[in-house]
């Protein structure tokens, strides 16, 4: 079930939230948790009910193992064997559903021959709930958590807003919030704030992300079909995809936090204006924050982190990013995307190392005005991230090559048609000389649309900033300097009638513009 569907907005969400609050009021906290867990299973099994069995089995096995690891009935070596066995089982299930065909294809590629693809359908959200439960098991083993009761555990894993596309919530963040007799009493403040955040997310998804998707898809489809794209088409296509995934993920994160807040559950922030980052390290602190946290705590640090010398550290970074790439999808393009980001991070850390030791670089940098320095850093980061999106979005490595060749200007610097009409033949003479216009997308309008959205990304406050002091997303830190203090102050949310009307109208407009063939959130496929 999609958040941007009529059935979810008009039936599932109101019934599940109202039912939760009513259950809590009449029968108490435990029954409310049972209600929400049940509706979450319904949400999960909406399209393929069989996967409910997989989810339930996964919860049952991991909960039982967690209890055994948390208490002292087993000896230390036995606990270690159990931990290894259960984590292997989790990874095995994930590997089978997500990577089996990729593995077979790779074997066929390496050794030649044909393979018959397994008929495997990837269960929704398997990457998310597997990682969540692995973290729980590791912490049980390390004595960092005691196994809670089953209903709380099941709620933590299945809570529907975060079940399919994250954030990868940590048991320490959720389970303590489920305790307390008045924990889920109806709170008008939380409901109003949650409704607003949810509405902002819906608006971002329907109005911005889907529009950008419509601009990006034809270009990538053309590249996949082997068609030639011009320089401007390729850049607009890629930039549009960068904005699509940005707003898609941002929208989903907002909607998740909003739904949680409606029932008094604060979920962790997962997205914090990542395109405003001035280096790639900062980007990964703002993009998919909970995945970065998981990979840091449960992979990078166990590998030795940055305590094992420069070479090993960079090696660890690369391993983490390649696995992070593969976590997003089983394919060479995802692997390449992860490796490219690994390389970016290594360069970033290397640059920092050199920069802090070079008096020449420091003296040059300090001579530059702060704004110019920032602009250079931001520009480099943004372009690097945008180029990496080509690997993430393209159908295959051939399409990646086609797109990158066009972005490098190898197919000519065709200007948008509208710009050509504006500037006449001089531009044609300078930039083109006989390169075909593929007419894949209406470039003039697309350029305008993309630039408008880039303006929003950089100059408008994000959801956390709009919600101001009412924002209680876990881990939220104000990370951005105010550019237009006056405007931003006006945009900060207040429980006023004007905001109520504007927020309601945003939801109305989003609902009216929902497509009948709703586009799913990009992160649903992971």
């Amino acid at each position: 079930m999609l958040f941007n569907s009529y059935i979810f907005l008009f039936v599932f969400l109101p019934i599940s939230v109202a039912g939760f609050l009513v259950c809590n009021r009449i029968w108490g906290r435990q029954s409310a948790l049972v209600w929400m867990t049940s509706t979450s299973f319904l949400f999960y099994g909406w399209h393929i009910p069989e996967f409910v069995v997989l989810l339930a089995a996964s919860i049952l096995v991991n909960y039982t193992a967690g209890r055994a690891l948390a208490f002292d009935q087993l000896s230390s070596p036995k606990k270690k064997y159990l931990l290894v066995a259960v984590i292997s089982a989790n990874i095995g299930v994930l590997g089978y559903f997500k990577y089996a065909n990729f593995f077979l294809e790779t074997i066929a590629l390496l050794y030649g021959g044909q393979v018959t693809a397994l008929k495997v359908i990837l269960p929704l959200g398997i990457s998310f709930f597997t990682f969540q439960q692995i973290a729980y098991l590791v912490d049980c083993y390390a004595g960092k958590t005691a196994g809670r009761n089953f209903v709380e555990y099941a709620f933590f894993v299945t809570f529907f807003p975060q079940l399919i596309a994250g954030p990868i919530v940590h048991h320490k963040e959720i389970i303590p919030q489920l305790i307390g007799s008045n924990r889920f009493s109806i709170s008008a403040e939380n409901f109003a704030v949650g409704l607003t955040i949810f509405g902002i997310g819906l608006f971002k998804k329907v109005i911005i992300a889907d529009t950008m998707g419509a601009l990006a898809n034809p270009g990538f489809d053309s590249a996949a079909a082997g068609q030639v794209l011009s320089f401007s088409e390729a850049w607009i296509t890629t930039t549009a995809f960068g904005l699509e995934i940005y707003f898609d993920f941002s929208a989903y994160s907002d909607m998740v936090i909003g739904i949680g807040r409606m029932i008094n559950v604060n979920l962790p922030i997962n997205f914090s204006s990542p395109y405003q980052s001035t280096n790639i390290i900062d980007f990964w602190r703002r993009w998919h924050i909970t995945l970065s946290r998981f990979l840091r705590d449960y992979l990078y640090i166990p590998l030795g982190g940055n305590r094992v010398g420069k070479f090993r550290r960079y090696n660890n970074l690369m391993i983490v990013m390649v696995l992070g790439g593969l976590w997003h999808g089983a394919g060479w393009t995802y692997l390449a995307w992860g490796a490219l980001h690994g390389l970016y991070l290594i360069i970033n850390h290397g640059w920092r190392f050199i920069y802090t030791r070079s008096t020449l670089l420091i003296s040059v940098a300090t001579k530059l005005p702060n704004s110019i320095r920032k602009l250079c850093c931001w520009g480099t980061t943004y372009v690097a991230v945008t180029i990496a999106w080509v690997f993430f979005r393209a159908e295959n490595l051939t399409a990646v090559k086609t797109m990158l060749a066009a972005m490098a200007g190898q197919t000519g610097f065709q200007l948008p048609r509208d710009a050509m009409l504006q500037f006449g033949h001089v531009w044609h003479f300078i930039f083109l000389s006989g390169i075909p216009n593929t007419q894949t997308i209406k470039l003039g309008m697309a350029t305008f649309g993309v630039l408008s959205i880039i303006f929003i990304v950089f100059f408008c406050p994000n959801t956390q900033q709009i919600m101001g002091k009412y924002n209680r997303a876990l881990g939220h830190e104000p990370v951005r300097q105010k550019l237009f203090g006056y405007i931003e102050n006006r945009l900060v949310w207040k429980p006023s009638s004007a905001f109520a009307i504007v927020c309601a109208l945003m939801v109305v407009v989003s609902i009216l513009l929902l497509k009948s063939d709703q586009s799913e959130f990009i992160y649903f496929q992971f």
Binding site: S187, A188, E189, F191, A192, L195, D221, S222, A225, Q227, N437, Q439, K494, P495, S496, S497, F499, A500, I501, C503, A504, L505, V507, V508, I511, L512, L513, K515, S516, D517
Partner: protein, 294 residues
């Protein structure tokens, strides 16, 4: 400002009232617009209605070339619709002849059917579109994605005017002329290279098999083009290969392939370089019918 709980309750109430009022208002007015302004002028709905109620056993099908170019022939229905691919034509034929007997099927055999943009276009099933309209019209598949467009048109123009004249036999005709306009080379597309394994080729074969199975006769027709367009087409690489494919396909499937590309010498019979106007359609259609049924 009072930030007490009651203030938040008030906020939620205002939100609820605004939401309900605007969703209700938007829904009611959109329904009104669809029922009173859109549907009476919607060619697509007329086409659907015609498609559903036509009783003819002879049909012509394809995209706008056929929709505009074949009319006025007794015993024939024109069930073509602009921009529809051969894959959609296949689906439509299956739906149409699921409850009717079949005699002659005139199927468009123009080379642009194999152009990249056509091949790449998703062959989404239009079956849902041909389902009955729902009681609440705005939730019908045919309308659901168009709400904003309807309002934009209504506020922009103030009225809905059909683009084509809908004829009693299902044809959609235009009465314009080329008026000596220059042909635009970029509007001639390039066919794909891999014709034989393409989805379009498979659809042509599926149609041929379907027509055979229903006891009908299939007739592939390449419709006429203007002088300028013919020159452009012939200068284009890749067109000969598709022409050969059609000839080979017709031979193998034992169906007729009527090539009328050069039939019309008088450019006044064209609405534009690709499409016949109403007069042109009335002139050409009897020749198509005769060639196919001889």
């Amino acid at each position: 400002m009072n930030l007490s709980t009651s203030s938040f309750r008030k906020w939620v109430c205002i939100w609820g009232v605004t939401f309900t009022a605007f969703v209700g208002l938007a829904g009611a007015t959109t329904e009104w617009l669809i029922r009173t302004k859109v549907e009476p002028n919607d060619i697509f709905l007329k086409h659907i209605e015609f498609f559903r109620t036509s009783t003819q056993q002879n049909v012509a099908i394809g995209d706008s070339i056929v929709a505009l170019g074949f009319t006025g022939q007794k015993g024939y229905s024109n069930i073509a619709y602009p921009s529809e691919t051969i894959e959609i034509a296949e689906q439509k034929l299956r739906i149409y002849f699921s409850s009717r007997k079949m005699q002659h099927v005139i199927l468009q055999a123009d080379i642009h059917q194999f152009c990249k943009h056509r091949v790449n276009r998703a062959a989404k099933s239009r079956t849902a579109t041909y389902e009955n309209l729902r009681w609440v019209r705005m939730f019908s598949p045919v309308h659901r994605t168009q709400w904003l467009l309807y309002w934009r048109t209504y506020f922009g123009k103030g009225y809905f005017k059909p683009k084509f004249a809908f004829q009693p036999d299902g044809a959609q005709t235009l009465s314009g002329t080329i008026n000596g306009a220059e042909d635009n080379p970029s509007s001639v597309c390039d066919p794909i290279k891999n014709i034989y394994q393409s989805r379009i080729a498979k659809s042509y074969l599926a149609i041929a098999n379907f027509v055979k199975a229903k006891g009908g006769q299939l007739c592939l027709v390449r419709f006429p083009k203007s002088h300028e367009r013919r020159k452009l087409i012939r200068a284009r690489a890749g067109y000969k290969a598709v022409e050969i494919w059609f000839q080979k396909f017709a031979r193998e499937q034992k169906v007729k392939f009527i090539d009328l590309l050069d039939l019309v010498e008088n450019d006044d019979l064209f609405n534009d370089h690709d499409h016949l106007n109403h007069r042109g359609a009335l002139t050409v259609s009897p020749k198509i019918k005769d060639a196919c049924s001889s």
